[in-house]
């Protein structure tokens, strides 16, 4: 069984904008609820929300077909929901339940579902993604691997080792840098010298960039990029300049308020809502809320794992 985001997306009725909006609304509603649950003390530990960046996930992942692979990072909720459309499994996971995505073992940052993988250690997944793409290449499959990384993660040397190998060996992998201008508390100009796109290009691969939080625009651009990688069997390096509207994890936002305010105008949800038929956005927001309600009710009813299950593992999916 494989997830086929493109088939699912293409099979839905309605204009592209509405369908993208519906997904973004689900991600937003999901994460706002998550933050509420943390505030209310129902959740414990940490989480990283994707608020403000939803257009990236929906713009890219809806082009993936069955068997395509996604590697995601600490900020994975949006990627996962666009990929799977299964909020209840992620919610149960974050709530530590036995029937969560990975039985409560991974929590918010460490999830796996079909061909989707995430890890909370910065950088390592980039090499893992190249390996996944090489596995595909060596076995003659036609799948594409997409890996998401942040601007800050461009600090990790393994990223460049990975770019070099992907380029040398011709790995069908799409590197997506989500440049949200900050790495935790550090602004991009204190973490990154030179030019992001030039870094990709210096390793001998096609590379380009886009500054946008417009889901439709991103969707259109990435359709071509995903197919380019699939057809050429070569890597591509794409930088999306965007912005994170929430704190890094929880209650740790010390950025200049005025800067954050300025970027609210680019919030991908209102930006797209304004172009939908009147009332549609509100309706889709309500639907998203209802799905989150439902997911939460389900997740709350799920059991916690048993301490004795430490060594066991659910049957391989």
């Amino acid at each position: 069984m494989s997830v086929d985001p493109r088939q699912r997306f293409d099979g839905q009725p309605g204009p592209v904008g509405e369908r993208l909006y519906a997904q973004m609304a689900l991600i937003r509603a999901f994460e706002e609820r998550l933050l509420l649950l943390f505030d209310q003390g129902e959740l414990f530990g940490t989480t990283h929300c994707y608020i403000g960046q939803e257009a990236d996930a929906v713009g890219i992942i809806n082009h993936l077909r069955a068997g395509d692979v996604v590697f995601s990072n600490h900020r994975c909720h949006g990627h996962f929901l666009a990929y799977s459309d299964r909020p209840e499994l992620l919610l149960a996971e974050v709530m530590g339940r036995d029937t969560g995505l990975v039985g409560g073992r991974g929590g918010s940052q460490h999830i796996c579902y079909e061909d989707f993988y995430s890890n909370g250690v910065q950088g390592g997944i980039v090499a893992n993604a190249v390996g996944a793409a090489m596995a595909e290449k060596l076995t003659g499959g036609g799948a594409v691997t997409v890996v998401f990384l942040g601007d800050g993660t461009l600090g990790e040397g393994i990223v460049y080792e990975s770019l070099n190998m992907a380029s040398l060996w011709g790995a069908p992998v799409l590197f997506v840098v989500e440049d949200n201008r900050w790495a935790q508390s550090t602004p991009v100009d204190k973490e990154l010298a030179g030019d992001m796109v030039a870094r990709g290009r210096a390793f001998g691969m096609s590379a380009s960039e886009i500054t946008s939080t417009d889901a439709v625009e991103l969707y259109e651009r990435f359709g071509a990029l995903v197919e380019q990688v699939r057809e050429t069997g070569r890597p591509h390096f794409e930088v999306i300049h965007t912005y994170r509207l929430c704190h890094h994890s929880k209650s740790d936002d010390r950025r200049p308020e005025e800067e954050v305010e300025r970027h609210r105008a680019d919030d991908p949800l209102p930006k797209l809502a304004a172009r939908l038929a009147p009332g549609r956005a509100e309706a889709l927001d309500r639907e998203a809320e209802a799905r989150v309600d439902e997911a939460l009710a389900w997740a709350r009813a799920q059991p916690f794992p048993e301490a004795s299950e430490l060594g066991g593992a659910r049957a391989k999916a």
Binding site: G103, G104, T153, E156
Partner: protein, 346 residues
């Protein structure tokens, strides 16, 4: 005056160190105020010493390597690894650079580097942000591994580490940051006799009976120190077992003497650590004790460690993996109840 907590002690020490010595430089991720580092150990420093606090890109190997170069050239850099879990990324700089240069350059260079690494779980941070992996750094020739506890003066240990000419890995248990220091004069220590060895990295020994008739030596460090003492208290009250608690601050090189002295009194050894057990610090302590206090042991030594799994995100799995006070009490009871004796002959 309120007793400081571990975090405050470390932070104050950093301020004092940077004030006193211009060679002290701080490097790591997200160090700048108002953020002041992920756990706030570095708070205020970038404001007070803007030139000497370098907030770095996410480049653990690289900035540790930069710090090694600084140390080679006369500075005294302190590196903060945001989560100790990421220390493996920097490990080659410790193994093949920082610790190699002084010896392989035949004393022509020193590398007075301190790498601070917050370790430990019990905060629900999941498998990659909760580990205690310091054991993997034990026994690199030339690397000193120091771990404060609330029963030591963490700030003084940090100062001694910075003043040491050798590279030091300084392991800070995350849960411990908020704990108040527990010195000899504190109310919480009223019933406890405290002894300490001399030197920059002392071992503190605690006893509820003045080291008179201990039946068991509990050895612990860092985040397990308070658990060890709490277990000793319960053992005394609930089970009438008198345990001495021995808390080294220097994991390597290890001063076995205070442990050996205690084992020679008690005949029984229990070692706790928050990390997993295999080839861990506890293995070394048990092995050393078996070698050097063989005749004194009247029962098999025992280790209480994390179980041999990653640390799950959900609380029930995290609790099941990490060693708990109950585990210490249970293991202590079983080792004391195995009242084997032996007679030493020729």
């Amino acid at each position: 005056m309120r007793r400081p907590n571990v975090l405050g002690s470390l932070n104050a020490s950093l301020h004092a160190l940077m004030e006193a010595d211009r060679r002290v430089v701080l490097m790591g991720e997200d160090l700048l105020d108002p953020y002041g580092g992920a756990f706030k150990v570095s708070a205020g420093l970038s404001t007070a010493f803007p030139d000497r606090v370098l907030t770095s890109p996410i480049s653990e190997l690289g900035f540790t390597g930069v710090a090694v170069g600084m140390a080679l050239r006369g500075l005294r850099p302190i590196v903060e690894i945001m989560f100790g879990d990421f220390l493996m990324l920097a490990a080659d700089q410790l193994l093949n650079h920082a610790t190699k240069y002084p010896w392989m350059y035949d004393g022509k260079a020193t590398v007075p580097l301190v790498v601070r690494a917050p370790m430990g779980g019990r905060r629900g941070y999941g498998p990659t942000h909760s580990q205690s992996i310091e054991k993997h750094f034990l026994g690199m020739p030339g690397l000193v591994v120091v771990a404060p506890s609330p029963f030591h003066d963490p700030g003084a240990l940090l100062a001694a580490s910075v003043e040491d000419d050798r590279p030091v890995l300084f392991v800070e248990n995350k849960l411990m940051y908020a704990r108040l220091l527990r010195g000899a004069g504190d109310a919480s220590m009223a019933d406890v006799t405290v002894r300490s060895t001399e030197g920059a990295f002392p071992t503190v020994s605690l006893s509820y009976d003045g080291f008179e008739e201990g039946e068991l030596t509990i050895v612990a460090y860092g985040g397990m120190a308070e658990l060890g003492l709490a277990a000793a208290e319960r053992l005394l009250i609930d089970h009438e077992i008198v345990a001495e608690v021995v808390l080294p601050s220097c994991l390597n090189p290890l001063d076995l003497a205070p442990i050996a002295r205690s084992v020679r009194r008690t005949g029984r050894l229990l070692v706790c650590e928050e990390g997993t057990g295999v080839a861990g610090w506890g293995s070394e302590v048990v092995a050393r004790a078996a070698e050097e206090c063989f005749d004194a042991l009247v029962a098999p030594p025992v280790r209480v460690t994390a179980r041999d799994f990653p640390i799950g995100n959900t609380r029930v799995l995290e609790d099941a993996v990490l060693p708990q006070e109950d585990d210490v009490v249970r293991a202590a009871r079983s080792v004391v109840e195995s009242r084997k004796m032996r007679v030493v002959g020729g």
